[in-house]
Subunit: 480 residues, 2 copies
């Protein structure tokens, strides 16, 4: 910085316009702050432009395609179904554009100043913003760092020019349907894409990374998910270690080390999803006394405040799950604290969802985690095959499960798989947050007939009293 350089004065500067950043900007503006938001790419960030939103469009297309193929029993018949990925991708682009314009409109309506450019710290109170043909310096009273992350790259890859190597961002730009798709990962996006591309017509194999033996959910959900994947015809390779990937003659070969020796998986397209690394390069953070965690994330308190008290950090550059819902909560909390409210983040009961077929939604502790944490775990479970509304829709796959502290009947976790599970999980989150006991769930009234009743019956099953099953409650037999 040139000495004496003029700095524009600002109140609150937010670096990064992803969901965390733009929620923070709007909330701070609602509470009376003058807000400046710096974004070097598109408003909405990875989530809106490259992540959750496009992935959900693909998942939704698959949901409807599968439904259409199954609707004959309802008296609905149609000619041959044709699926066109390009049309779905156009819809995805239009959704992204609409939502982005929505965020842009909200910035205007809330009088948030939006600067297009790359920001970096010049000091604890000053940033430079470099646009395509501009460079300006801004001073600020408070700052929120919300720069997000980028996909962790797959290592040991040899590929010739035509090998299509896809990560969670680039797969959203796919132009043609893969003939055979290998998905190397074990997160919601891997599972959503596996089921979506299978529905679209690709041959799909999931390879769980680094020796993993199962999916990332509660054991009951993992078991049902495995059963459904098997029935669907999606191969799952488990318990292997990745060695390398190579593309030659139109095909990828994933070389793996299994327990019983080497193993290979082949496919025309290779996708991987290995998490997100924080985008903290080129921010000038080395100029600041900001404390990082061992993993290279920014350390914060419950409000999101970093070791520099007037700078907050939110989203994928902080500890905790790399989910938009976390970033959104952190963004609003940081804004509120900056504006004088006494808010705190609450990551105990973040819902974890996957829009698979059928969808999965979980909140709180899994049975296994609760046992590890020393609870005297009991559970209640109810299969959707015994749910009345499932008979109507013909969607009998999935289950509802409650995890309960056997010492005091407190709800510890709710795990749902099935049509409507995502809408239903807020019942779980709110119950967990409000410290519900099993009897709070059984005392409530549930629409009849509905999927909701499966939550009731799971809570009743905990006491051996679900009406539509003869299950009995059991003490958890999880080995810890």
């Amino acid at each position: 910085m040139v000495v004496g350089e003029l700095a524009h004065e600002r109140e609150l500067i937010i670096i990064g316009g992803g969901p965390g950043g733009y929620h923070a900007a709007i909330r701070a503006s609602q509470l009376g702050k003058k807000v400046t938001l710096v974004e070097r790419e598109a408003l909405g960030g990875v989530c809106l432009n490259k992540g959750c939103i496009p992935s959900k469009v693909l998942a939704y297309g698959a949901e409807r395609l599968i439904a259409m193929q199954q609707d004959h029993f309802l008296g609905i018949s149609a000619g041959e179904h044709i699926f066109d990925l390009q049309t779905l991708m156009k819809h995805k682009d239009s959704v992204i554009q609409n939502l982005r314009q929505g965020v842009e409109g909200l910035m205007k309506a809330n009088k948030v100043e939006v600067l297009k450019g790359s920001a970096f710290f010049l000091s604890e109170n000053k940033i430079g913003v470099e646009g395509s043909d501009s460079y300006d310096v801004y001073s600020f009273s408070e700052g929120i760092l919300a720069v997000g992350g980028t996909p962790v790259l797959l290592e040991d890859v040899d590929h010739a020019e035509k090998g299509v190597l896809l990560n969670p961002w680039t797969i959203m730009e796919l132009k043609e349907l893969p003939q055979s798709l290998i998905l190397y990962g074990n997160d919601y996006i891997t599972l959503e894409l596996a089921m979506a591309f299978h529905a679209f017509g690709s041959n799909v194999t999931i390879v769980l990374p680094e020796g993993q033996q199962s999916f990332p959910f509660d054991s009951s959900i993992n078991k049902e998910l495995s059963r459904i994947l098997k029935k669907t015809g999606i191969a799952v390779v488990k318990g292997v270690h990745y060695k390398h990937a190579a593309f030659s003659e139109g095909s990828w070969t994933l070389a793996l080390q299994g327990e019983k020796g080497p193993k290979t998986v082949e496919g025309t397209h290779l996708f991987y999803s290995l998490g997100t690394k924080p985008s903290l390069q080129n921010l000038g953070l080395d100029r600041l006394p900001i404390i990082l965690t061992e993993e290279g994330l920014i350390e914060t308190d419950q409000a999101g405040r970093t070791s520099i008290p007037h700078i907050f950090a939110i989203g994928d550059i902080t500890e905790g799950p790399q989910l938009a819902v976390k970033a959104i909560q952190q963004g609003k909390t940081a804004a509120e604290v900056i504006c004088g409210r006494n808010s705190e983040n609450n990551h105990l009961f973040l819902p974890v969802t996957a829009r698979t077929s059928p969808p999965i939604a979980c909140a709180g502790l899994t049975e296994e985690r609760a046992a590890l944490e020393g609870y005297s775990v009991r559970t209640g479970e109810f299969a959707l095959s015994a749910n009345g509304y499932s008979s109507i829709t013909g969607s009998k796959e999935g289950l509802l499960k409650v995890v309960i502290d056997g010492d005091n009947d407190m709800l510890l976790g709710v795990h749902a798989m099935g049509r409507g599970a995502i809408e239903l999980i807020s019942s779980g989150v709110l119950s967990l947050e409000m410290a519900a006991r099993a009897e709070d769930l059984t005392f409530a009234a549930y629409p009849h007939p509905s999927l909701n009743e499966a939550l009731l019956e799971a809570a009743e099953a905990f006491r051996g009293e679900s009406i539509h099953s003869i299950h009995k409650a059991k003490i958890s037999k999880v080995r810890v």
Copy 2:
């Protein structure tokens, strides 16, 4: 009764095998009672065989038919759609049969004795059961009366042989699609059928009974529902009084008295739904000192106990809304109290739902009701058109609304219309039951993107702080 006639001794006898009765039977059996259930027709009662279940099958068929017609934007195209009511009706019959067999299986598994026949009281402790070729007398220690009701009949109807006059039961047996269907009613079943038959291809007119000016929901839902019906092409006739109906020359004429004079509505088929009257005839109740309400319903306490302490009454023969969910709760409560538990019914937060397109689900007080009850009403509302997930699905109709006590921020009601509303309403019911404040809803985390976020934003809107709208909270302007 012949003096000295042998009476078979039983512990708990339940008269009526509808949802209330069979839930009571199973719960009592779970808690150790020996249970006898008497049903003169099919297990499952009106709800399973003639009411909620068949209606939901029709509604679900319509949901899928509408969806299929709209899915081109997802890249899913199919040939011409053909809808066949008979196939859907076959699915309905098969759902009913499966669920009924399910209930029969549950009776066996729970060792509930099922008697096929008509029961009537011989004394406070004795009933006769008349089967097709049998007559037996049973004494009992405790009894639950769960005989339900029958549709209130439309009066002043002249019709020749071929006039198809349909009530909520008989419409479920319809063989061919009505060319034009008049629906005289204003309950969930009328609205579900109106939208379903419109989707199937009938010309549909709804006539609200007895001078009613609007639908039975919160004003915001009523307004959105009116808008959607108008857009869909379903006519709604309001503010009229019914005079008579006549069928001649292939057409029904409904003669109505409007504010500005007489009015007629014509259609090939006439449906009416005017509520349920209790089926208390031929039960020998006049032999018992059982107290009825002015409306001819059986008076009970909070546990369902009648004026005869060892006899309980549940479902449509008791006060309160005529909903399966109420009967189910009452059935379980009565069984629990009979088995020594200290249970009570809780009808404050019964969810009210309609599987319209899109569905409606409500719990707690409407804005208007809360104002009438003297609350200092405030509301928060969020339109699904601004919800991110709605952009993905293209289902932008509907809204979420919270009704809040302005004096203490306590939640009084939750009203939802939109895709997923029914699954979402359990969040409202549980929050209401657990005495949530607005901040309990805003503190929780919601999956992103999801319909659930509209509930969050409705609660935020109450404070003028929803992120994706520039609505401000307002003091209710309802006139009381």
